[in-house]
Amino acid sequence: MSTYRERIRQALGAKVQFVQGDDACAYGAILAGCTFFAGYPITPATEVAERMSEILPKLGGCYIQMEDEIASIGAIIGASWTGVKVMTATSGPGFSLMQENLGYGIITETPCVIINVQRSGPSTGQPTMGAYGDMMQARWGTHGDHEIILLCPSSVQEAMELTIVAFNMAEQYRTPVLLFIDGELGHMRERLVIPDDSEITLFDRVRAESMEGYKPFQVGESLVPAFAPFGSGYRTYVTGLTHNEQGLPRTSSPAIHDKLVRRLAAKINDHTDDIVRYEEFYADDCDVAIVAYGITARTCRDVVEEARGRGIKAGLLRLITIWPFPEALVARWAERVRAILVPEMNMGQIYHPIREAVEGRCAVRLLAKIGGELHTPTELLDALEELSCQPR
């Protein structure tokens, strides 16, 4: 009898494959130990659901196609409370529908992963074209004060790797974690190397150890409560209402609300060192920097090399974690460079927190592109050259 990890290998197939970004997200989820997926078809994210529907039953897991995206996120949150790792995948219109239950996942501290393969909006927009128009919705889409974790890979390989990371963060901080790609990366095929188990670190949510004195939302130093799955005899009550450490509704107490909501924020904000991921190129010898993320960032790498060949001291800060926003990191770059170029496949979203972090220490220029096409190397190079010519 083969082990579960061996069966995962068997289900995923060859170690080296040529697959789409959507496939990679599904593979990452399976490698992370995801056994439950609920979703609703939507271009360009459908392939994630297709892969999960193919693989999960082979491993004894559950795939369920819900009636809409509201139900999809509801189902994964419910499933997560039985103690399993869960995921859903969608695109802009579906992500809009998920907002209310996303907030429910946050306040109930439910580990879950949501993949958003972004397309152009507003509304139905351009279903088959890539965009990064949901970056601010990720941060502020659900109502009320909260923090969120958002990761943005730049390649097919990274989509798989960061999906595993997303699961780990969801488990560690007991919160929904978002992983955003876009229609181009979602449908782009690249070489994917499935890592060996020795190369994968997995984190499982901390379980309650004793019923004695257990309170489902009481925390220690980590600020993350210990988890008791439904059916384990702990008789946990979970509510979206403001609740006390016991989990019981306490909706009229300003103090209890204040304590709960500030802790939910702090458990993420106090761990930014662990959560914030990024990549730097020529950080120490840079005059004009590009700050980019997602599929755009990969073109920027080439462009920085090209610019340096032309005598421009260019550098690149590739943001991998978008939320919580790496303010201190961007501020450090702003100290060292004359100007920052922010290319985005939207009309300027992450440009704003960047400006906030820069606080006027250097010029910040937005290079917005919408309509579904990627920034071309020429467009980026022209913008870099123009910035480098500007007086300090």
């Binding site: 039953p57 491993l59 369920i64 999809s72 509801g74 419910g78 439904f230 008789r235 009550y237």
Partner: protein
Amino acid sequence: MSTTLTLKTAAELRTTHLRQEMFPTIFCDGCGLGNVLNYTLWAVEQVGLDLDRTVFVSGIGCSSRLTGYVNADGMHTTHGRALSFATGIKAANPDLNVIVFTGDGDGSGIGGNHLLHTIRRNMDLTVILVNNFTYGMTGGQSAPTSPTGSFSPTTPYGNVEHPLDICELAQALGAPYVARWPVSVPSQPIKSIAQGISKRGFSLIEMMAPCPTAYGRRNGLRGIEPNWQWYRDHTVLVDEYERVEQFGSPEERAALRDKMKIGVFQDIERESFGDRWAALVDRVKL
């Protein structure tokens, strides 16, 4: 299942099945929700459900607050979405018993599409839907079940819409077990809830419950007793309903127009999602 009920007293159930720290309840005088909770716990007792292995799920509204009082795993979710969460719990761990408390607004208004598809999928859930003809928690606005002509703060000139018959919908969708009872009778609801829990697949028990505070007083029912009496006067057993329809005098048939059918409307067998998924996994599992 035994046909005679040997029940613990309400006081006994209170100590074993309820969360003491949640009392007093939020419910108004004359509300039917306390009865629904009692009937449910008696049914749970009768069936012998292990509360350690039972999850109570609800959405938003007065009836959805019921989950909080039960001393078991509970999930009080978002408005209309209880069935989505319950579906996830049951699909991920089919060994758990999942009982859903919902209301007419939560379950058939904002959650109507989930109701439709949860029945179609035949999730093995027991849904106790409390119908009080109104959105009680927000102050008694018109609901999908509000009778035509009824008054509410959002239908100040009378409701022009047609009400939804939730049980007919569930029957048409092929729900294995469908029943409706008023809270004014105790034993039939207990039996139906017990049957619903025992049924493999989706079961719907619609409990008609008065809301004197938000509905009754605006619709000619002042005081608690007239609210409860209304259910005795305006319900008729399904067998009797059908007999009158077929064989009754014109006067008798005319009198049916003001009455709602009660009873067990459907009790059939149908493979559940869980059974079919398990068979599929057996077929393709590595």
